[in-house]
Assembly symmetry: C4
Homo-oligomer: 364 residues x 4
């Protein structure tokens, strides 16, 4: 397969339709789902020439976590739906390629097991350093109204070696996925569960607690979390610049500019369209990571040029996993890396740091 879209096409024909629809679909009319990709198509790149750069360097450092590429794995749920190894395979692919993986709270493999798989794949080499410590693994968290439960989740992630918490804040209620309603997809198949939710305080030892999404979660919870952990806290799902400014004031460490892949509130803007404003609101005081619709190396370059510190991909990882397990995920990551590499070179850039906003234009 030659590009990420071909992986998606393959998944559409091989993955169980009900599961494919769950993963590929979005909320209500899927306006945002489509717009995420379309918005990149409305931007143009204006390359520089004759800059005499070496082969581009792609490594980045985020919250003290070194990675070989500015493309990370956004959190996605239920990897075992498309491959029996599930998140283990994904984690091995991430570790092997030096990619930051944001493990989902809704993973079908527990964070400790994901971390173990990552360590094993890295063979002790982390961030290019033998014995370089914990793998580049972050943990995505929905703050649970029961703070004892939340605390236990954070403790597990910390114990597993997660190096940042990505707190999703766009889910006061669960988005309405009409494909799933039509397909009657309500539960994971037998034998799969959200393993991070197993055996939490206040339940039976082996019970899997449902993930609560609650409109009552507010900045106070964030302040509580901020003092309850020493891990960097990244907010995922802020779209309004005013909320980006609030995040700064509440001591947040970074933003993940995401519309949840078009799965929560439909008709929100494409993330790439919001990026300049969010970057301006943040004013360089914390990193902004963008996800949503990234399918090409040129998409990555556009986001970086407009001020993102890194970008995430979500669904393409799953299409790679569905195609060929760990190897499929690696192929997805490598293909995109090759494209970023070429796109940077063609822009006359020796690294993401050479990219500036004047290289991006809106299509006329």
């Amino acid at each position: 397969m030659l590009n990420l879209r071909e992986f998606e096409a393959a998944a559409a024909s091989t993955v169980d339709r009900v599961h494919y629809d769950y993963l590929a679909g979005g909320a209500w009319d899927e306006v945002t789902l489509r717009d995420n990709e379309a918005a990149f198509g409305r931007l143009r790149l204006l390359p520089r020439v004759l800059r005499g750069r070496d082969k581009p360097e792609l490594d980045v450092s985020l919250f003290g976590c070194h990675a070989a590429s500015p493309v990370l794995m956004s959190p996605t749920a239920f990897h075992r739906l498309v491959h029996p190894e599930g998140e283990r395979a994904t984690a091995r692919a991430a570790a092997a390629t030096g990619t930051i993986m944001v493990a989902s709270m809704a993973a079908t493999v527990a964070i400790a097991d994901i971390a173990a798989a990552a360590r094993e794949a890295a063979g002790g080499v982390v961030g290019g350093v033998v014995g370089g410590g914990d793998p580049a693994l972050w943990f995505q968290l929905y703050i649970q109204p029961d703070l004892e439960v939340t605390e236990a989740l954070v403790a597990r992630a910390t114990a597993a070696g997660a190096r940042a918490l990505v707190v999703t804040v766009d889910s006061p209620v669960f988005g309405a996925h009409e494909r799933d309603r039509r397909n009657g997809f309500l539960d994971l198949p037998a034998g799969m569960a959200c393993e991070n939710m197993r055996g939490l305080p206040g339940g039976e030892p082996d019970a899997v607690r449902p993930i609560a999404m609650s409109p009552e979660i507010c900045w106070d919870h964030l302040d509580w979390l901020r003092q309850a952990t020493s891990l960097p806290v990244v907010l995922k799902g802020i779209l309004h610049p005013e909320d980006a400014r609030l995040a700064l004031r509440h001591g947040v460490d970074g933003l993940m500019l995401s519309n949840h892949g078009g799965r929560q509130l439909d008709t929100v803007p494409a993330t790439i369209d919001l990026l300049p404003e969010i970057v301006a609101a943040v004013g360089g005081r914390m990193p902004v990571i963008l996800d949503g619709g990234v399918r090409r190396g040129t998409d990555v370059v556009k986001a970086l040029a407009l001020g993102a510190s890194a970008v995430g991909i979500g669904r393409p990882v799953l299409w790679g996993l569905a195609a060929d397990g760990e190897r499929g995920v690696r192929r997805v990551l490598e293909l995109l890396r090759e494209e970023v590499d070429a796109a940077l070179a063609l822009c006359g850039a020796g690294s993401p740091r050479d990219l500036t906003p004047d290289l991006v234009r809106r299509r006329s």
Copy 2:
């Protein structure tokens, strides 16, 4: 059925084609008909996060009339075309769900009978109050050049308990519906009539008077009506901001920003595109209710954020009625309410009052 569009699709295949075309169609090339829906698709919502709101409260109060939802039933004609119970069923669904119904002067059930059905369904509970008085029923009026006839219509509506008059002002002549001309749809089937027009002054006791649309109706008629009734007077069909300002000067109580569902002058703007200007012209001095193309909870939220006090739906009510009578209409209202509920929560809003214009963006 999962959403309002599915009700429309169902109606397209079950309702008699000639009647479906009458209800679904618009004037001339149906540019405005299509644009009403498309215009919402050009707007984006920018949600707020971490606001810690309770489950949203949707109730509104309009002209002293309390309703459980900011979505009301816009006036639509001829409900008996799609269901034998006609407006009786619609009224019962409205009353049962606490929805304001604007009964059409061109109803196939008389306003008194509509009101009776509403009262019966409410079981004496109106506006959440036992014995709470008249149901949330308004009457849509075309001012007739014969003022004695108009007076009789107003008297009937008042006697039936209508709590506001919605005066349609966009119909100096009847819009050209080419679908109907093609289909030869000129008259109601035998056994149906505009029951509000029966037995009016100047005619035989049981005769049904045709509804007159006349270009001679002007602000003087409005001034006359204003003093002839103590009911709130809402003008439906003003699109030019200058006319909104004139409405204020003539003591009107509210505006219904509507282009008659694209059935009168074709190529007028989508109502949602005009809303900011009309809201600015009115300057908060009277409520503005918008209809035209509302099919999703996100549409409702966009209109409310841009300053509408409520929104109306027209055709979807008929598709619900066609599908399953009173129950179908209730289902339509409930589906939309669920969507509004979810969309508000996802915007971080605890009620329509939390919505502000900065939450709406034009697609870039």
Copy 3:
């Protein structure tokens, strides 16, 4: 048939394909041909309400020529291609409906015979006045480099009673019609000719001289014409505002804002998109008549609101002629008149004079 587009569809299936292509087609890629119609679709009308107008009055007066409608017949060639009566039938339909007809220099009936047919149809009633003089017939002229020939043409038109000269200035060379090249359509069928070009000075008595299109024609020729005739001179084909200002300085009486139906230079703007600028350049000092893409009453109203004194239709006249001769043309004119009538009423206008530019908006 319910509207002008249905006449076009009918012609597409009944008229000889080669001839249909000649009439319906445009230059090169037909960008302008399509854009003429599409541009009206990008405009929106903002009606006024409650203005208490009478049924609209549509009559206009142009260059002392009274007409019952602001819609006139733009010059089109070769009417006998679609009907044996050719321009005679068209002229009768024009006269019977009080419509100004601009007879083409490339007519297949001589101007004198066109005028005779018009007079006969009018039954001596012209401009609503019995014995009201010459019919509302204008003559379209390509200035010929041989001025003696041009003078003879003007003399013939004047003798026939033409009341204005419409000088086409967009044709220094003949537009490239690829449909015709593909079809091999090079000549009129046997028995048809440009009758106005027969027996002109410098040729055999009965010879038909080809119409010359020459890049050498310039403002000097216009100045010469201006003094060679006392008829009003209207320039057809000016698109650049600077040329509109030059026209004023050269004593021209009016402009016909036309892109030759997209048949000359392809990719010129739609005329309705240029209208505001041309109207501004002219500053009310002479009338501007627009043609190009007018198919609906709302198109007419948009052009009039933006400052046109009248609008022309071209191809629809031919589709009416093809469908049913004189009666077909009358039907086309009547349909459009009914639409203009309704559109004016729905805009709250009692006549074209009530239309103002604020009634027109660009689609958002």
Copy 4:
């Protein structure tokens, strides 16, 4: 065939699919490939009238090189893929029509042989002058990191009579052509080679050296080239206005505003959209030649009006060559010339010098 697009359609059905895809395709998603043509479609021409011009004069003079037309042949590789005569046939067509040909470094015929073919076809008449010296042949160059090799290439081109060097600067790496990857097109068929690369310094006498594309090429190389040759140096592939200003400072003689036909970095802007900015950056201090998407005479006129000194066509030359060898290429050149001729006349222009930016408008 009536126009350039018909030549393309013919080539699509007659040329070997793998080779057609190589020639017709672009990089990654081919966004820029499509946009090059689409961008012309978004521009409108505003002609002038009554200017009394003679038949247009099309000849231009560029870097002391006289040509009969402002349309030149942009460099394209591998002409023998579509015709056994390859670049010899192309060169004869160019010479016979007085067209500047930019021979590609990746030609399948050596520059000396191309020049010989051109001289033979011109019959000693060059630039309209018998014995007028060298044909209007330029040489396209990728600066090779091995400067000795580059020097040898320049020497060969100079010896062959090339009258300018067109240095491509948009290729630090080779663009990703997914069509070719899919088709497995990696090498020229047996018996074809990049003949200019044969027998260069540092290799076997008859060996063909691969063309190196290197990100290390920078302005220093340009400065070196500038002093190593007395030929005019034209940079091809600058898109950023800042680089245009740098080119001026480095003593470059002209720019070829090109995005490599959408074959290098995908999603760069259409060249015609960048032209005004590049022209402004250059401020008349050197000529700007545009290529990319030119398919119609109106495209040529738009580019000239916006400030290009000439325009180039690439693929259409190959489609002509595929259709009928030298004659096919001549036909392509003649067709486009006829269109430019007509378009100029219809704009009221007697030569490209009469075209001004006010004649071009963006579609509204």
